[in-house]
Symmetry: C2
Subunit: 670 residues, 2 copies
Amino acid sequence: MPIQEKTRARDTCWLPEEGQGHRAEKVHISVVGNGFRLDTIKKVAQTYLPRIFADVDIVDAEFANVIVGTFADLGRSERVGHQEGYRIFADGSQLIIAGDTEFGVLYGFYEFLKKSQQGCPLLTMEAEDQPAMEVRMINHWDNLDGSVERGYAGKSLFFDNNAWAASDEEIVQYAEMLSSIGINALTINNVNVHAKETELITEKWLPQLAKVANLFDAYHITLFLSANFASPMTLGHLQTADPLDKRVVHWWKTQVEEIYKYIPTFGGFVIKADSEHRPGPFTYGRTHAQGANMLADALKPYGGVVFWRCFVYDCLQDWRDRSTDRAKAAYEHFAPLDGTFADNVILQIKNGPMDFQVREPVSPLFGALTQTNYVMELQITQEYTGQQIDVCYLPMQWQEIWSFDTHANGEGTKIADLLSSRQQDGKGKGVTAVSNIGNNQNWTGHPFAQANLYGYGQLAWNPEQCPRKIAEEWAKRTYAHLSAEVRQTICSILKRSWSVYEAYTAPLGVGWMVNTGHHYGPNVNGYEYSPWGTYHFSDRSGLGVDRTKTGSNYISQYKQPVAELYGNVATCPDELLLFFHHVPYTHMLKSGKTVIQHIYDAHFEGVEEVEAFLEAWEGQKEAMPDSLYMHVKERFEAQLANAREWRDQVNTYYYRMSGINDERGRTIYK
Amino acid sequence: MPIQEKTRARDTCWLPEEGQGHRAEKVHISVVGNGFRLDTIKKVAQTYLPRIFADVDIVDAEFANVIVGTFADLGRSERVGHQEGYRIFADGSQLIIAGDTEFGVLYGFYEFLKKSQQGCPLLTMEAEDQPAMEVRMINHWDNLDGSVERGYAGKSLFFDNNAWAASDEEIVQYAEMLSSIGINALTINNVNVHAKETELITEKWLPQLAKVANLFDAYHITLFLSANFASPMTLGHLQTADPLDKRVVHWWKTQVEEIYKYIPTFGGFVIKADSEHRPGPFTYGRTHAQGANMLADALKPYGGVVFWRCFVYDCLQDWRDRSTDRAKAAYEHFAPLDGTFADNVILQIKNGPMDFQVREPVSPLFGALTQTNYVMELQITQEYTGQQIDVCYLPMQWQEIWSFDTHANGEGTKIADLLSSRQQDGKGKGVTAVSNIGNNQNWTGHPFAQANLYGYGQLAWNPEQCPRKIAEEWAKRTYAHLSAEVRQTICSILKRSWSVYEAYTAPLGVGWMVNTGHHYGPNVNGYEYSPWGTYHFSDRSGLGVDRTKTGSNYISQYKQPVAELYGNVATCPDELLLFFHHVPYTHMLKSGKTVIQHIYDAHFEGVEEVEAFLEAWEGQKEAMPDSLYMHVKERFEAQLANAREWRDQVNTYYYRMSGINDERGRTIYK
């Protein structure tokens, strides 16, 4: 093949790679002042700038054409007014990259790197920016044995065989990737904290984690840990983990003191409590607030924070019980507790009321909390959205979620506004998301899944960005060495991929028609008679979940006019119809199709789209390295097989149920 | 509690236990002659007789009131005419237990033990018997790591952590149990022979297995091993396992020679080939006969035998493909090969064409083979029949299977006749069955599951026995220390249990409505869209599999008039209707009920029966030790929960499908 293959041990993703072609301009750069992250900038500059520019040198300020530093260190009076904000501008023959703090300078430098990668002439560069979200976090669900819960990119980056597995170089490369897209916090272990993982907060692990925390901190990324609420019992040999028990309180204070002795920059805990069999305050008749506040108290002297997950529901529901609705659980558990949480508790609320389905309404908890800090939890890893075999570009979904108008403070209270605290006294602190990273050479299994991580960072920084533009930017940076036509092919696929995935899987927002356990591939009845609260109630007449007043009345958790919009079958959007209503197969959608015909059409069209993806990819074979071509081709073939299985199982199931033929006479197996 | 608890490390099951109460008669026994199994008889006598009789002594013949030996050694002219047969009779003041060989004497002694246990006065004992089946085998599906495939009684009796785990005492006790019910052969490892298990036929294991083989041989039980067809590749580092390749042939001859050097009594191999991803001759374009005969050739000089399993089908079937029918597979693979197998090959054919469902027709391969040796394979372990949580007394099923008239040689060619070679030139050699034994204290998880092992041995010896009588005998021997009322309660439950299990699970012979993988509990669609060839094709109008001429024409594999009987919806027995026919929910059964009403009734009644089991058991609480009461009670409670889940899932599924109400208005969840 004429085109050079990537040679580094691991992909650089969107960051510049070796030998991607040099720009003629010289970059003589000076980083002014002293600081931990300023040192980082020098290192990043030395690593990446020579991959872009032929002539790169670190020089004294007087010889530099690029000057980097805080406004103060540069002796300038400008300010951005935000500690993570920056400005890039030309001043005579020099390009200035400056911020109020070294954090801002770091982000400014990454912006400079991005513009450099894209060929922008130095002195024309101009930018002023600051992040919309305060918290821009990543949650790894990695276990100490090296497995990753819901991981589809190999094993853990961090752990293997109950020991630390990552080299410093790997951590640095990962930190570079994360900070280059604005991520400023992460957890490295699974929210389901098992026996071995419980020990992470002890001296057994803290010396190692101190090193790791420091490596990340150099990139302005704060290390958090997922902790086991029952740690006082598991580690401290107490008979209780009651948050009001003095011995328990004391145990946590002592343990937190120990953590900060090793890791002064430690961020705090992420806690999954009283959820899916994890221990929590309920065991002792205490509230979530009592549980969270006890931990927050222990962390407060050090500036630490508790992220307390709201993914709490009855996972031993009886499918016969039509009065319980899992969708209502998070709101019912947490809305009444609003105002009772400590200042350094942040509730972590999943985007939807169920669990990262391809389509869900936005959780009504957003907008309901007015006196409690919170973040939104998203899932970058594609648990229910193709598992990094099927391509599914999720920023399309996130952007739609963040555009949702909660009407919390009247019309125009969008999720993005709430999370970025643009509302007065807003308590939204930002976002966190489950990582899609593993130890695969390309980090994410499917190389296109890198775009989900990239897009997450970009949107968390600025939710007003168009996800289509982000995809283009990602492709331009990641596949700089390939032709514009290849990139266009990739982007065209990415942009359609979420809709396509939705089309060939569970219809009209109903969700959960997946195989149990691993959650890949179709199983229409897989969760229908389960204890998980996940039903579609299909019968010979119709399907869908009545969550209106005649059903579970989940809709009442929304503000008006949202509740009315969803609650009325005439106004409920088609794509969420079956989430909110049980309707006959012959119900006419706003699209002008019946529900059953929509099911057939979407499933046939979804498969056709995947066929088109594969065909488009095959058309670019000659324009890319064999390894990339084959790797992605194999995944498209697997996706196509999956899409066909979805199409045929869902269509057959509903044909057998409804007895209604496809009006276009396509093949449905009887 | 007033009643003494069993105290031995492991239950004695139906063999006499310590302190069960002594009979007044003296037993002064003399074992005449020398022989390996005569020594065994002495040991068995010393172990068990003192538990029955207060006054037991081993004496010289002249002082004995019980004389044991071969007719020849006893200087008598009688003969049974069968090497495993025996006679028990009084001769003056002496009771004679004699056989043509020491094997027969051993079985005679067990009969004497049984009669002694049941209180029969010595000199009134009279019996003459011989086994109907030549092969009366047990197949363990034990793995070297200690797991048992489809095991529900703890871990393996034999292996743990890739080492031998059983003490000699345990093997002896197990051998006593098996030989006491006439078992004369066993395998100790899983038919799915994985990497570690492949090594069992090598010097690494043979010294240990030689000891084990000897322990079993003392009880006239021949040791076989499940072997990996690809052993020449795994162990011999050949590039092929082609049965016609000279190196492969040589490798097996050498390996078999090695085995017999250590174990002169070795029985041979059980082979699962070209089945569910196991290697086999198909890889090399060879037939099953070529594969089996190659192994048989290697074993022949030593008198060894190959059991070659006929459980061969396409386990990667496309559910969309209505032309393939898994039920047809065994016949299609093996019937055309009749006459091409070596004399020391025995085909091992599962009782039904699918896989150990609670109800299946008998495999049409029985009766189709006239020049090939075969045995029937049953499953004592309750994979699809309640997993030793739900009680399911399987001899009821087996007796029905064995009573089936194949019409192979005209009317009256029952399975029992074929297997016991009562037909002229018959090639049926007997039975084998998957073990339900594990390392639990009571051997079988549910104590009542002991009755399945007991009944298996009894029926293999004499298929004319009534399984109800066998249950009574088992209860009388096993629960000798309890009241007749308790035993009656147990027997009444056992006798109904198979019908009850059938009632609350998949209806009318259709099968496969189970959870995938582990096979416990309901999942109506669990296997409906799977690659396993296991479908019920339910739609809004009806259900069942058309295996008649208008469908897969599986029925044509049966002899007439069986094919006609099954093929005609008017004559097909209700209990197999959905196995052979796709019918509307409103189809009228011979019982006078519609199919849908039968589904509802059977499921409601099945649960009511389990409720009655539990109630009957609770009624006997005071009459038994707490440990037994609680152990069985907990299982009945679990069974009841399982039965209710089956009832409600199946009823709801078919209500949603059919829209037809229960005519008795009972609760069906909508």
